[in-house]
């Protein structure tokens, strides 16, 4: 694996030497921002977790020049990205492509969270059913009626003091 990486890197570097001279002629009117707009959505094919637009290696510099060249030749963003995927694999994309095994990355978390939510909701219902019948009327009726007649500020203070007492 490692050997392969070095080999591809070498080939790219070699090929880019020629590309570079072309880029100087052909990609001159493409601004850095236009290049970075694409590069920021790609990851360096050889380093770990480094976006291509801020990657400091020489290889990455050459890749950015390659993007510049392709842009000057009229390639679209999507075509350039596809070019990188075809040459260096899906790891250059900031997210796995939505196909095959990779679909798992998108579906597993929501599924687990949904299961968690369902468990929590059912637990709530169970808890409420256990106690709800005898307690529910009290919650609704008695405190409210006293609350409406009494001064709301005193009521807050009373509740507040009660809570502090409970803590002690």
């Amino acid at each position: 694996m490692k050997k392969l990486n070095i080999l591809t890197l070498f080939i790219i570097l070699l090929s880019l030497f020629s590309v570079n001279t072309v880029a100087a002629q052909g990609g001159g009117d493409i601004s850095d921002d236009e290049v970075n707009a694409i590069a920021s959505e790609l990851f360096c094919p050889v380093c770990e977790n480094t976006p291509l637009d801020v990657c400091e290696t020489q290889a990455c510099k050459q890749w950015r020049e390659l993007i510049r060249l392709k842009l000057s030749e009229g390639w679209t963003d999507a075509e350039i990205k596809q070019y990188f995927v075809d040459n260096y694999g899906a790891r250059v994309l900031a997210e796995p492509p939505k196909e095959g095994f990779n679909l798992l990355v998108y579906f597993v978390p929501p599924a687990i969270i949904l299961i968690g939510a369902v468990i929590l909701f059912r637990a709530f219902k169970e808890w409420k059913n256990d106690n709800g019948e005898k307690d529910a009327p009290i919650t609704e009726a008695s405190p409210k009626s006293t609350r409406e007649t009494s001064n709301p500020k005193d009521d807050y203070l009373a509740k507040f003091e009660e809570e502090l007492r409970k803590r002690e």
């Binding site: 850095d32 976006p51 990657c55 250059v92 900031a94 997210e95 968690g116 500020k153």
Partner: protein
């Protein structure tokens, strides 16, 4: 001589630690208090031992002993002394020693507490902390010896390789220790939880004992995260502070479960509920702490294959697996005993909302965990590597963060036990109305992004609700006593530090949120090649390129320094000097120049990697609105925890 002494001490520490674990188990099974006491003292002894070994290492680091491999690999002669000391945690073997030292500091101090009321927990706390310590020390002794000498016959190098330049920053002096402190200190609540499970003391005693430990652990973990963000912003030179890198996420994950734990233990204390859940959370947190250390230490992140080559990776894997299985086996064993009598009464009660909070934090955990391990799974099962980068995490966690903010706005108003829509509505309408000012204001200054507008509303809601809680409490007290409002405010906080410290933390969190929204939605950047005298325009600012200097620093690095004049509407603001340092070993470092205000940051870097020539110099400028609020929130956050961690006045006697 000294290196051998250091290594010898580590071997002895390992043996003492093993002794402590075995004699604690033996003492407990034979009911011999003397044996347990011996185990306690043995554990205490590990602290001076590891301290001695660490001091020897520091001595070697300071004195340029390049016959020791580790010293050679992390220091060189030009490094100032303080950096040579921080090189203690600058590489794998040293940082493992540092980890162990911190653990023994915590373990030793916990053995010194008064155990009268909970003597039965002592042996098991010793066993859990002792096993963890033994694990880390044996990694050092058998695989990552910081005292290892260079091979015999090889000439002692004249100079060392030096610390990685990225680590030569003041932030690096505090960030790793804070992060490690946070990691390590979660061992203590975990040890008590396991001790409670083993002894069957299923009341909330273990939670009460470890409350402070947990808060301190949380403080350090949070501090570690914030300092790490700051360091990245100041040093890494890519315009941001958080890149959803697996290493960052591995530090975030225990924070997520730890935060959930901090909230849900309150339900157990108040209502005696959720005993199982709290156990699960603390077990998860401890495992994630080890997992985080494992991720950054095993090489597994770069590739599953690197994991196989790493000597300590598989051992970490076994340790995590064993901890996980044993902890959950114990939990299942005690499942019936942990059932509680009280039950949930209302879906809108404070405890119900706390549970929802837990669900949200765990959702963030699931997303983060899955995102981190997915590339490994992909490599393992399909052979192809993929990247799970920021867009994935931002999209997936964004709504969850939003929901958490909404909860922070509502939950403080809900009552324990029972709460209805009506009571909640009555409490919330005023702050909610006040909060609407925020999006109106944002809209009037031209913000049209609806996600940002909603976020600003939620942030304002949290702030108004929290401040109102202070105001109402203090006013009620001052009316009753007739005293001064501010004195009563202070008394109020002192009487219930956790609650009011908690509100301060809530406010600090959403202040950080302001900065995060600023950078997420409104960051702009541009990169241009300039000749001297030329300018860059960004978001109303003008940067004029004035000069370029190149000189050598006394420590050998070659500094390339650009100077730019920053102005707005023709008015001079500041001279900015972005820098590019090239270290003698070829390591580059890009230091941004930043002008930071409460409204926005102008962040300039010298894009050295694009090639600097006499004719043209490439600059990249970022406009980062509101980002300073991340740091303001960070400071307030630490203050909030200090409030929360202190003892309530009434409780001091307990």
């Amino acid at each position: 001589m000294l290196p051998s002494l250091g290594y010898g001490i580590l071997v002895i520490t390992m043996l003492v630690s093993i002794y402590s674990v075995s004699i604690a188990i033996y003492g407990e099974t034979t009911k011999s208090a003397a044996m347990v006491e011996s185990a306690r003292r043995a554990m205490l002894l590990t602290l001076p031992l590891i301290t001695a070994a660490s001091l020897i290492l520091i001595y070697l680091l300071i004195n340029d002993r390049y016959d020791v491999e580790y010293v050679w690999s992390v220091t060189n002669r030009t490094m100032p002394t303080y950096l040579k000391i921080t090189a203690w945690w600058g590489g794998q073997p040293g940082s493992l020693l540092f980890w162990s030292w911190l653990l023994s500091v915590f373990t030793a101090s916990v053995t010194l507490r008064k155990w009268d009321r909970d003597r039965e927990l002592l042996p098991w706390v010793l066993v859990v902390t002792g096993i963890t310590l033994t694990f880390f020390i044996s990694l050092i002794v058998f695989f990552e010896n910081p005292f290892k000498l260079i091979p015999a016959g090889v000439q002692v190098p004249l100079d060392g390789r030096g610390l990685n330049p990225l680590l030569r920053h003041p932030g690096m002096i505090i960030h790793p220790p804070a992060q490690y402190l946070g990691f390590v200190s979660f061992t203590i609540p975990f040890a008590f939880a396991i001790a409670a499970l083993i002894t069957g003391r299923t009341d909330d005693r273990w939670i009460r004992i470890t409350r402070k430990w947990t808060l301190w652990a949380w403080l350090f973990l949070s501090l570690g995260l914030v300092l790490g963000m700051r360091w990245a912003y100041d040093v890494l030179g890519w315009g941001g502070y958080w890149g959803w890198d697996p290493v960052e996420i591995s530090a975030l994950m225990p924070w997520l479960t730890g935060t959930a734990f901090l909230h849900s233990v309150m339900i157990q204390e108040k209502r005696g509920m959720l005993k199982h859940w709290n156990m699960i959370l603390i077990i998860l947190t401890f495992n994630l702490v080890i997992f985080g250390t494992f991720l950054t230490r095993s090489g597994v992140l770069s590739s599953v294959h690197a994991f196989a080559q790493s000597e300590i990776g598989p051992l970490f894997f076994i340790f995590i697996g064993a901890t996980f299985v044993i902890s959950f086996a114990l939990l299942i064993h005690r499942w019936e005993d942990l059932k509680s009598g009280t039950e949930m009464k209302s879906m809108l009660s404070k405890e119900a909302l706390f549970l929802l909070n837990n669900l949200l934090f765990l959702s963030l955990l699931v997303i983060s965990f899955w995102g981190v391990i997915f590339p490994l799974l992909s490599e393992l099962f399909t052979g192809s590597k993929v990247t799970v980068g920021p867009p994935f995490y931002e999209r997936a966690t964004g709504p969850v963060w939003g929901a958490l903010m909404l909860l922070m706005g509502i939950a403080p108003l809900a009552a324990w036990g029972r709460s209805t829509l009506k009571t909640l509505g009555r409490a919330i309408w005023k702050p909610a109305l006040a909060a609407l000012l925020a999006p109106i204001l944002a809209f009037s200054v031209g913000i049209r992004n609806w996600v940002a507008l909603i976020s600003f509303t939620l942030i304002a809601l949290v702030i108004t609700v929290s401040i109102r809680e202070f105001w109402r409490g203090a006013r009620a007290r001052s009316r009753k006593s007739g005293g001064n409002f501010f004195i009563e405010l202070w008394n109020l906080i002192k009487r219930n530090r956790r609650r009011y410290g908690g509100y301060i933390i809530h406010i600090s969190m959403v202040l950080m949120g302001i900065g995060i929204i600023g950078i997420e939605f409104f960051q702009t950047d541009t990169q241009q090649h300039l000749a001297i005298g030329e300018t860059i325009e960004i978001s109303g600012y003008t940067l004029r390129y004035d000069r370029l200097d190149q000189f050598r620093h006394e420590d050998g690095r070659l500094i390339t320094r650009g100077e730019m004049t920053l102005s707005k509407d023709g008015k001079f603001l500041e001279t900015l000097a972005p820098r590019f340092d090239l270290y003698p070993d070829g390591q580059p470092m890009t230091i941004p120049a930043v002008r930071s205000t409460l409204v926005d940051d102008v962040y300039v870097i010298l894009v050295n990697w694009e090639g600097i020539t006499a004719e043209s110099t490439p600059f990249k400028v970022y406009h980062n609105p509101l980002v300073k609020w991340v740091w303001i929130g960070g400071y307030l956050f630490v203050f909030g925890i200090f409030i929360a961690v202190g003892s309530d006045e009434e409780r001091k006697k307990v």
